[in-house]
Structures are given as structure tokens and as C-alpha cells.
């Protein structure tokens, strides 16, 4: 199954990279361009193939073949276009940036380790909710199921009034991408939706760094990437099968292309790509429609004022290509959305309602500080490099990019003012997602606002052997990755109390029924029993294992008898009290790979406090160990 998903994603990636390469330059892209075009191509390809799958789903009962044919034709056509282009002129070799190499390599190493952490954490977030959290399954995967299972009449089914709660008016880039991946697999496998979702997260991080590295020193690009990967909400949300991370990718892609269009030799191509990604933003979420409008306004107005209608036309041409499926979907298939139902004119008075402004601003302050789920919000320290001479003014289309983010945020604010939904509910349930949509683009603008001088943090000295230094860092990183992965492997699961390797076997103690949730503070670990409770003892490998000893601390709020049994055999019995006592149960033997220790007590639980709903606690196990 994984192979089918990888092939589906691989074809999309190839198509997107070819499309980006075809527009990027009048020549074939140089190898250095691929660093940018490859992450851009991943998101772009998923967007384009989603359009093909959407079109095929309207015609064919089994859209996979037709969509794959369109993918193949597009890949062949774009390859032919690129083949006809002259090869890239040999790039003038840049003098090796030896200054600041140590600092850059150090920050790059930290970034590499952060990427390992991000992949593991994102995978764990997927495992916790394989079908996504609320919007993931209730909207995006739900629509994907209709596209995948319901044949060409999926839109009729999805339009039924009884399904209005699933927002059938929402655009289909994510559902069509997921349904396409499912079509390749042959069933609606959650892993495929998780990988599509994660691919957008990875593409966002890659594009942020690649685009920044073309405009600013590598140190700035690495730092920007680290700020993004140091945003836990971004990392855990990336695999959560929502459309906010894909929308954030297309917003970022549009803005990076605007900024890069004034650097390359083919601005019309870059702007056409920017238009296409803005159109794909609208194909991703309704908020993307707002973004497409404001970025078009910001850019086209600038180009017309500066007398460059050809460049404005290139952007609008790309935009139209991205908007075609949106227009068809909204006009022909989708019911009206809940935000525009009932007419907006009747609600214009809400714009002047001071209480609505207060509520939105208070929520914005609250959520802006915490939406990233950081342990330390990075805003204040991000101001530090901008202080004094570290700051630079935006130039050219960078202003259009900044204006697009500001206008989009202003647009979100206005939508809140005019919403027909309960304002508090609407704000509480959406603001953090709006903020995460704009966060990658905001980090990019922050990087752009930093001055561009090359770093010379190694006190002005140049390194004698930069290759050796880099090789040293690579080795250090490989070792660091090994250490990180082994630390992750040693982390206890939420229902695990102990793990130990003894006699070449891995043993673990897992909570069965009858316990409250595991608790911990610092290195302390304990769990309270509800009364009768089970501790499962397991050993990996061959069934028979032992003998081994289970040891733990025992405590209760009152004096009580506690008994531990295996089957009908009592293996330990004693008195627990408010003072922690140590218990050892030696000579245990696993005959079948696992066994269950059943704990019982002679008295009912004691409420832990006078509050209503307080837990009734019997006894607690502290620091179980297997020896």
C-alpha cells in the first residue's frame, strides 16, 4: 500500500516540478534551481493532479485511469517543453562562503535534528488520530470518500441538505488529492490521507528555506526553517489531514514567487507560477479565495502603476488556470456557503458594533500568543535581529507580498465582523487555524526583512579546510540523529509504566483496566488504581522469559490491604499507607510472552478532595521497575 501512495505522490511531485521548471526560466533549470523547484513542485503537483482527478471524477465511474492518463500526458508535454529549451548557461561560480561557515553549519545541524524530531512527532500525531481530527474527517476526508466511492454523481450526494454540516461548498484540492491517492491504493486507507497531509507540511518547510536561501544568507534560511519546525502546532497539524497547512503552502509559494520574480531572468514565468499558486490557494479553502483576491489586487495594481501590464497579465493568466476548477465547482456543483447565506447587506451594521471588535481583538491577542503551542513564543526574540542596522526595507514586489499578508489578515477580521454564526463560537473554533495559515508566509517576510550581509561570525577568520569542517558536521549530525531516534524509542507510551532490557530480552509493564491516567512530575511516575486493576507484563521475542522481579513503590491515602495475584495465585499481599513502601515480587516467569498481575484491595476508594466528581483513589504504584 505504501508503495502505491509513494508512486501517486511521486507522479504528482514530478508533474509539479516539471511545471515549475517550465515556467521558471527560458532555459532548462540549473541544478541550483532544483533546490527551490523540488519543494515547490511537491505542492504544485498535488494541486494540479487534484484538478485532473476532480475533472475525471465528474466523467468516469472509476476516475483513476482517466486521471492517471491526464497526469501522464501533462508529464510528457512538460518534459517535451523542457527538452526543447536551451540548457542553462553555466552559472558563474560563487566564491565559497567560508565566512560564518561554522555558525551556519552549527545552525544547519540543529535544523537537521529538528527535522528528525518533526518527522517523528508528526508521525505520532498521525497515529493518535489516523483519520484526522474534527475537520479532517468531518470535512476533508468525508468529501474525499464521496469523490472516491460515489461515482460521477458524488456532487449530487454531497449536496443533500442533511449534509450541510460537512460544508459541501468547501473547495476540493485536499479531498481530490486524498481521493486520488486512495484510487492508487484501491481503498480509502487513512495512511494515504496522512501522507498527502504530511507532504504539504514538508513542502512548506522546504520551500520556506529554499526560497529564503536564494534571497538571504543560509544562516537566515536555516533560522527561518527552525522557527517553523519549532512551532509544535505546525508540526502536529501537518499530518492532521486539515486544509490549513496546504493553504499555508500556497500562500507561501505565491509570496516567495513574487519576491523571487525580481531576481530571476524570467519574471513573467515566475509571476505566472505565482498566479497559479494563488489560484490553487482558492482551490484549497474559501479563505484562499480571499487571499487570491487581495494578492491579485496588490500585485496587479503595482504592475499597472509601474507600466508593466504584460507582467500583470502573466500573473492573471496563471491565476485563471488555478481558478477554473474553483469557478466550475462553485457555480455548477456547490451549494451556497454558510458565511454568505442570508445576504451580507443585512449584516453590514455589524461592522460598527464595538463589542464585536473587542471580542475579536481579545481573541486575537489570546490566540496569537499561543497558537503555535510553543513553550516559549518566539515573537520577542524575532524582533531582536530586526533591531538597529539588522533591518532592511522591502523592495519591489516584496511590498506586494507584505501587503497581501496584511490585507488577508484584514479580510479575515472583516469576515469575523460580518459572520452570521455566533461570533464567539466562530472565533474560538477557527482563529488559531487562520493564524497557522499565515505563519509560514510571516516567517518568510521576517527573513526578507533581515539585512543580507554574509555572516562572518568566526571572528573574521576564514576556515582553512571548510570541506573537512562540513564533513565533521555531517558525521556529528548522523550521530545526533542516531541518539535522537534511540531516545524516541525509549520514550514510554502513555499507558506504559516501565521498560527494561534484561537477559537480552525487552520487558515492559503496561497498564490494563482499572487505573486512572498515569501521572508524573519530573522523573517521578505513578498511577492510581480505581480498585481492582491489572498490570500487563510482557517480553518480546520467544514466549518463555524469566525469572525476573517486579519492584515498585506503594502508597495509599489510608491504611488498606493490597493483594497482587497471577491467576488464582497470590504473589504478594501487604498493607499500603500514606507513607511510600517498597514492594518486590521476585521469581516471576513468563510462559506465554505476557502475564497479568491483578491488584485488589479490601476497601473502597477515598475521594481525593471535597470537589464534586473527585476521583475515588485506592492505592498508587510508584516507579515500577523490572529487574
Amino acid at each position: 500500500m505504501i508503495l502505491s501512495v509513494v508512486i501517486a505522490l511521486g507522479f504528482a511531485w514530478l508533474l509539479g516540478t516539471l511545471a515549475a521548471s517550465a515556467c521558471w526560466s527560458r532555459q532548462r533549470p540549473a541544478p541550483a534551481d532544483l533546490l527551490l523547484l523540488v519543494p515547490l513542485g511537491l505542492g504544485l503537483g498535488l494541486g494540479l493532479t487534484s484538478i485532473f482527478f476532480f475533472a475525471a471524477s465528474l466523467i468516469a465511474n472509476e476516475p483513476r485511469g482517466l486521471a492517471a492518463g491526464m497526469d501522464g500526458l501533462a508529464i510528457a508535454g512538460l518534459s517535451w517543453c523542457l527538452w526543447r529549451k536551451p540548457p542553462a548557461a553555466a552559472a558563474k561560480p560563487r566564491p565559497p562562503a567560508r565566512t560564518g561557515l561554522l555558525v551556519t553549519a552549527l545552525v544547519g545541524s540543529i535544523l537537521g535534528q529538528a527535522a528528525v524530531v518533526a518527522v517523528v512527532v508528526s508521525a505520532r500525531a498521525y497515529e493518535a488520530e489516523p483519520l484526522g481530527s474534527w475537520d479532517g474527517w468531518a470535512i476533508w476526508n468525508m468529501h474525499a470518500r464521496f469523490l472516491f466511492h460515489a461515482g460521477p454523481h458524488w456532487a449530487d450526494a454531497l449536496r443533500q441538505p442533511t449534509l450541510n454540516w460537512t460544508h459541501p461548498d468547501y473547495p476540493l484540492l485536499v479531498p481530490a488529492s486524498v481521493a486520488r491517492a486512495w484510487a492508487w491504493v484501491g481503498r480509502d486507507a487513512p495512511l494515504a490521507s496522512g501522507l498527502v497531509s504530511g507532504a504539504f507540511g514538508a513542502a512548506t518547510a522546504g520551500l520556506l528555506m529554499a526560497a529564503t536561501a536564494r534571497l538571504r544568507p543560509a544562516l537566515v534560511a536555516f533560522t527561518g526553517g527552525l522557527v517553523l519546525l519549532g512551532t509544535p502546532f505546525f508540526v502536529t497539524f501537518a499530518s492532521n489531514e486539515h486544509a490549513d497547512i496546504p493553504l499555508g503552502f500556497f500562500i507561501l509559494a505565491t509570496l516567495t514567487l513574487l519576491a523571487l520574480s525580481q531576481r530571476g531572468g524570467h519574471p513573467a514565468g515566475a509571476l505566472a507560477l505565482a498566479g497559479l499558486t494563488a489560484g490553487l490557494a482558492a482551490w484549497t479553502k474559501n479563505e484562499g479565495l480571499l487571499f487570491a483576491m487581495v494578492v491579485s489586487f496588490a500585485l496587479v495594481a503595482r504592475e499597472l502603476v509601474r507600466g508593466s501590464p504584460r507582467l500583470a497579465g502573466a500573473f492573471l493568466g496563471g491565476l485563471l488556470a488555478g481558478l477554473l476548477p474553483v469557478i466550475y465547482f462553485k457555480v455548477m456543483l456547490a451549494p451556497p456557503g454558510d458565511l454568505v447565506s442570508g445576504g451580507i447587506t443585512a449584516r453590514l451594521g455589524q461592522l460598527l458594533d464595538a463589542s464585536r471588535h473587542r471580542l475579536i481583538l481579545a481573541s486575537l491577542w489570546r490566540d496569537a500568543m499561543r497558537f503555535g503551542e510553543w513553550c516559549f513564543a518566539p515573537f520577542l526574540v524575532m524582533l531582536l535581529p530586526l533591531a538597529g542596522p539588522g533591518w532592511r526595507r522591502f523592495v519591489g514586489r516584496e511590498w506586494s507580498a507584505a501587503a497581501a499578508v496584511a490585507l488577508t489578515a484584514a479580510g479575515y477580521y472583516t469576515v469575523y465582523l460580518l459572520t452570521p454564526l455566533d461570533l464567539k463560537w466562530h472565533v474560538d473554533n477557527s482563529m488559531v487555524r487562520l493564524l497557522i495559515q499565515l505563519w509560514p508566509a510571516t516567517i518568510f517576510l521576517w527573513c526578507l526583512a533581515l539585512s543580507a550581509e554574509e555572516s562572518s561570525a568566526s571572528s573574521g577568520r576564514t576556515l582553512r579546510r571548510p570541506g573537512v569542517v562540513l564533513a565533521g558536521f555531517v558525521l556529528l549530525n548522523l550521530a545526533g540523529t542516531g541518539v535522537l531516534l534511540s531516545l524516541f524509542a525509549r520514550q514510554l507510551a502513555p499507558n506504559e509504566m516501565a521498560r527494561a532490557r534484561t537477559g537480552g530480552r525487552e520487558f515492559s509493564a503496561v497498564l490494563g483496566e482499572g487505573w486512572f491516567a498515569r501521572e508524573g512530575r519530573g522523573s517521578d511516575l505513578w498511577v492510581w488504581s480505581r480498585g481492582e486493576s491489572r498490570l500487563l507484563l510482557r517480553a518480546d521475542g520467544s514466549p518463555a522469559a524469566g525469572p525476573f522481579t517486579v519492584a515498585f513503590g506503594l502508597r495509599s491515602l489510608d491504611a488498606r490491604q493490597v493483594t497482587a495475584k497471577i491467576g488464582d495465585r497470590i504473589v504478594w499481599s501487604g498493607v499500603a499507607g500514606p507513607m511510600l513502601s517498597q514492594v518486590r515480587i521476585p521469581g516471576l516467569q513468563l510462559s506465554s510472552g505476557d502475564m497479568t498481575l491483578v491488584f485488589t484491595t479490601d476497601r473502597p476508594g477515598v475521594p481525593e478532595s471535597g470537589a464534586t466528581g473527585a476521583r475515588a483513589l485506592t492505592f498508587a504504584l510508584y516507579h515500577p521497575r523490572i529487574e
Binding site: 442533511t162 527552525l226 513553550c375 555572516s455 497498564l511
Partner: protein
């Protein structure tokens, strides 16, 4: 020039330190998936998926398409936020998509009954009979008697 560069590099390293602290914290608090145990409850959406597996196959083999009625322990007008009937209905709809479940079942010949607390006996709504019992409170109902 030198001042700007040193200041910026130092300040960037502070940003790197803060971002790294966030990454470390994230690594500490993101738990691995629960170890296999009878006490582990899968997330509610996956659980609902498994509950409706057999019904889903059965509906496919019967060739039922389009919309069906949906019957829960209370009629739609009496659903409350506290009792989570709405949430349970949404998850059931997701589990059985692309079939459309209508919580007003009167207009349909077939209905899915989701009655997790029904126990051994089920009181079918008037005019409906059980076509098949899939266990765990999942039933396929047919209008009329069989």
C-alpha cells in the same frame, strides 16, 4: 557594517536557541502511541469505523445506495450537546459515506439504527423491523414487518 553583522548573528542565535527549546519540549511531550492493551480505547472516529465495518459490507452487498434513514435512541429534535447524539451521528455518517444518513427516517424504506446502549433487547421504532443485527448496538432496519 561589522556591527550590523555581529548584532544580527548574535540575535539570530538567540532565535535559534528559543526555537530549539520549543523543538526539545515538543519531543518530550509528544507521546508514542499507546502500547497494546485491552484498556486502550482507539480514537472515537476509528472506533466508529470498526463498529460499522460489517454493516458497511452488508449494505454494499445489498446494493443499497443513496440515502437511508438514521435512527438513534432519541429523535433528532431531542438531541442535546451533553448527550453527544449529534457527534455520534456525524461519525456514523463518516463511517458509512458515501451513503447519506437522514436523521428523519420517515421517508425511507431502510434505516441504520445506532443504539450502543440497547443491550439484548431493542425497541424498534413503530413501523420498523430489524433486518439484521450487527452487534454492539448496530442494526439495519426495514420499514414494515418481514
Amino acid at each position: 557594517m561589522r556591527l550590523s553583522f555581529n548584532w544580527r548573528t548574535g540575535a539570530l542565535l538567540v532565535v535559534v536557541a528559543v526555537a530549539s527549546a520549543n523543538v526539545l519540549r515538543m519531543a518530550q511531550v509528544a507521546p508514542p502511541p499507546p502500547a497494546d492493551s485491552p484498556a486502550v480505547v482507539p480514537d472515537p472516529v476509528s472506533r466508529q469505523e470498526h463498529r460499522f465495518d460489517a454493516l458497511r459490507s452488508n449494505l454494499r452487498s445489498r446494493g443499497l445506495k443513496g440515502a437511508l434513514g438514521y435512527v438513534s435512541s432519541r429523535s433528532r429534535s431531542r438531541w442535546t450537546e451533553e448527550s453527544h447524539e449529534g457527534e455520534i451521528y456525524y461519525r456514523t455518517q463518516f463511517a458509512l459515506a458515501p451513503l447519506v444518513l437522514d436523521p428523519e427516517p420517515a421517508n425511507y424504506d431502510w434505516a441504520v439504527a445506532n443504539l450502543p446502549s440497547a443491550g439484548a433487547t431493542i425497541q424498534t421504532p413503530a413501523g420498523w423491523s430489524i433486518a439484521q443485527d450487527f452487534g454492539d448496538g448496530v442494526f439495519l432496519l426495514h420499514k414494515g414487518t418481514r
